[in-house]
């Protein structure tokens, strides 16, 4: 008559609750079966009020004590489920953050390389794809002029071999500079470059050049240094660049010097390999001299 109802057995069930449930089962002709289906939040447990409408347990016949125990039992069940779901949420959040921490290192590196954030040079290979190397047909060629400068303490003669080159955007061009070491010692120099006007610098792509690396010239040596570059084809379609048809590429040579007073380590001047410790020491000490730093040479 009262049908059957499933009941979830729990480790936290106290013995008197179990006994009262059993008493209910025997005296009130209700059979309790263990629940095999997992509890789901979409079907809330039948509250005492609800079970009145679908009468399985006749509450008027239950003692107050039994009602209280049943209520406590239901509350304990709800709390257990809530605790479990909270624990699962937090553990999943922890796992997500752990995964993010592991992924952060390559992700950070990739973002920095792409955007150049924090001074890391952009190694975006898409600037140098083959389709960028197709010349764009414009009316007037762009004039790229070459200028040079040498630091006062660097006894080199450094001049461009051609005054200018007329190029189209997307067309690769080769230019030469000549450097001569007029002193009687081996000297290491390092070149930096600048582009004028500054807005055009973003379109000036160098495929290969001689800048930012130490260049060693023996005493009295003269050498030719090439620059292979092109202007990005998007230069032709940028409205901000429409008035620019003259670009100046300016190279400056500085003297590279190591902090311990020597221009080059003894091992390197003998042509031997430099040990990693010595390399590290040299790198930490390497500075580019300004005229004020050098006392006399």
């Amino acid at each position: 008559m009262f049908g059957s109802k499933c009941i979830r057995t729990s480790l936290y069930m106290r013995s008197n609750v179990t006994s009262s449930v059993l008493r209910l089962a025997t005296t009130r002709q209700i059979s309790f079966k263990p629940c095999t289906r997992l509890y789901s939040s979409s079907t809330p447990p039948p509250s005492p009020a609800q079970s009145k409408s679908a009468p399985k347990i006749d509450l008027s016949k239950l003692s107050r004590d039994d009602i209280r125990k049943l209520h406590e039992f239901k509350m304990a069940e709800k709390l257990k489920v809530k605790n479990r779901s909270i624990a699962l949420y937090f553990s999943s959040i922890a796992i997500v953050f752990l995964g993010l921490a592991y992924a952060a290192v390559p992700l950070y590196r990739a973002i920095c390389a792409r955007t150049g954030f924090g001074g890391i040079p952009i190694t975006d290979r898409r600037k140098f794809t083959d389709d960028k190397l197709i010349p764009v047909d414009i009316d007037k060629r762009l004039r790229v002029s070459f200028t040079s400068e040498v630091s006062q303490i660097l006894p080199w003669k450094f001049v461009p071999q051609q005054r200018e080159v007329y190029v189209l955007p997307g067309e690769t061009a080769l230019a030469f500079y000549k450097a001569k070491n007029n002193s009687d010692k081996d000297i290491i120099g390092m070149a930096t470059y600048s582009i004028t006007p500054g807005d055009a610098a973003q379109y000036f792509n160098k495929i290969q050049c001689f800048c930012f690396e130490e260049q060693k010239l023996a005493a009295g040596e003269e050498v030719d240094m090439p620059v292979f570059f092109f202007i990005d084809p998007e230069f032709a379609t940028d409205p901000a660049m429409r008035n620019i048809d003259d670009i100046v590429l300016h190279y400056t040579f500085f003297r590279a010097h190591y902090g311990d007073g020597s221009a080059v380590s003894e091992a390197a001047s003998r042509g031997e390999a430099i040990s990693p410790e010595e390399q590290q020491k040299m790198l930490t000490n390497a500075t580019i001299l300004s005229p004020a730093d050098v006392k006399d040479e």
Partner: protein, 104 residues
Amino acid sequence: MPGNPGNSLRALSPTPPERGSFPLDHDNECFEQMTKYLKCMKLVNNENAPNCRLLAKEYLRCRMDKKLMDRDEWSHLGLPKDSHEQEIANEKNKSPTEHTFGKN
């Protein structure tokens, strides 16, 4: 995106050269190719004419041969292909068109 206005901040982050630095030609191994190229440029008034670009190609080829530059295809350097490479490319391009003729 062509002509992206408002990307002036791009100028602030310099890009390094793609292949880094040329090794110095201390022994002047490619001196002749270089002088030929410079003479050509003087004749053309520095206009970067196609024949001068062929001489530039010869200079870079000399550098590659003397191990002063990494080997690479001419298309990656924006220079015209060699004649025998062009023939091979033409042969490859021909065969698909012959198939379509066969269908008709």
